[in-house]
């Protein structure tokens, strides 16, 4: 939902360093987590990316900062996949967008076993 004039973005991204000469990317992803920590945004790493949410431009800036940091760490090229969603049918309390989606699905599934 818009906050002031800006959309609130619930996102997820997976950053891939390229041309690094080794298949492991954990050091680069760790660096991204440090950058996100500094961003002040709500985020949570999972097996194939990191959930991230906040005002649209802050989310984009944080991912851009990750690119800059991963280049600084030696990756000549980076390809990132971002999933980003916005909605205007209801307000999202800051930091609850991704978690509340999971909670809602779990709520439905719990009824299955009753």
């Amino acid at each position: 939902m818009a906050q002031g004039s800006e959309l609130y973005a619930v996102a997820d991204f997976c950053l891939i360093p390229m041309g690094t000469g080794e298949p492991s990317v954990a050091e680069y992803i760790a660096e991204c987590q440090r950058i996100l920590e500094k961003s002040g945004l709500h985020f949570k790493m999972h097996g194939y990316g990191t959930n991230l949410e906040g005002p649209w431009s802050a989310v984009c800036k944080a991912i851009g900062d990750c690119h800059a940091a991963v280049h600084a760490k030696g990756a000549p090229r980076i390809a990132t996949d971002i999933r980003i969603g916005t909605r205007v049918d209801k307000d999202i309390a800051p930091g609850t967008g991704n978690d509340s989606k999971v909670a809602r699905v779990r709520e439905i599934l719990e009824k299955d076993t009753k």
Copy 2:
């Protein structure tokens, strides 16, 4: 890594039902979780998708089965984003691909605070 002749796929997917007339998709995502449960594959839902891994064709079939089930539940159209990775530089013990990536990054970050 290849298991027999097939690549082992570590994946993540986000399925979006379209043309449903309501912005909420939790019922459809819950249905996908039921389908994945039956697939026998290792999977884990997060805020913007579901981690999933197994032999390449089994992973693809499971996601296709989710499409069929979501259509059966009433969605006329579906768009899914899949991230899928394979590697031949090391073996992945079945079901550990996504979790071990997270563990490796956490291991690096833990050293930061020491």
Copy 3:
């Protein structure tokens, strides 16, 4: 739309070789185009991926074959992003799914200038 019992998939994928030691990936992408040529499926490369369509399992198999070929060419690890869509509200004539989407949007835009 289902063809027999299988969904027809209109897709797009972007394959990223990892750990190759050089940022350029053109040789690997060219190899994928050769694989797709042999698949018999309708495909078309663009600046950030390749449109691809056909029966669900054939599309998945073709992308898996690309992974195998890119590994064979030396990439130890690969990460691919796939967008894949299905619909049951209308039939798609084989090979026309992606092109007809573009045509429909252009048709709308052409009215703007009249």
Copy 4:
């Protein structure tokens, strides 16, 4: 490559309106093309998304403007998939990033038939 202090982004995005009540999305995608036209950035629609490139923040802003316009047109919720790449190993002449990737692959493939 950085231009001043900002990374140049070569991207592609696929925007999915949700909860619209009808499976067709062409009107919404046409609206995005109008927004991109106004952005001044280099872009090109294909069957499953739109290539787009420019300074990182301009690319992000343009996609955010598309979300705002698609919400204004009636979609209560939107999910977008963005692929975005940056590189620091060579300069990209503005507007040539996506096209030059295609040209390089075609160049390689043309040698196959000689």
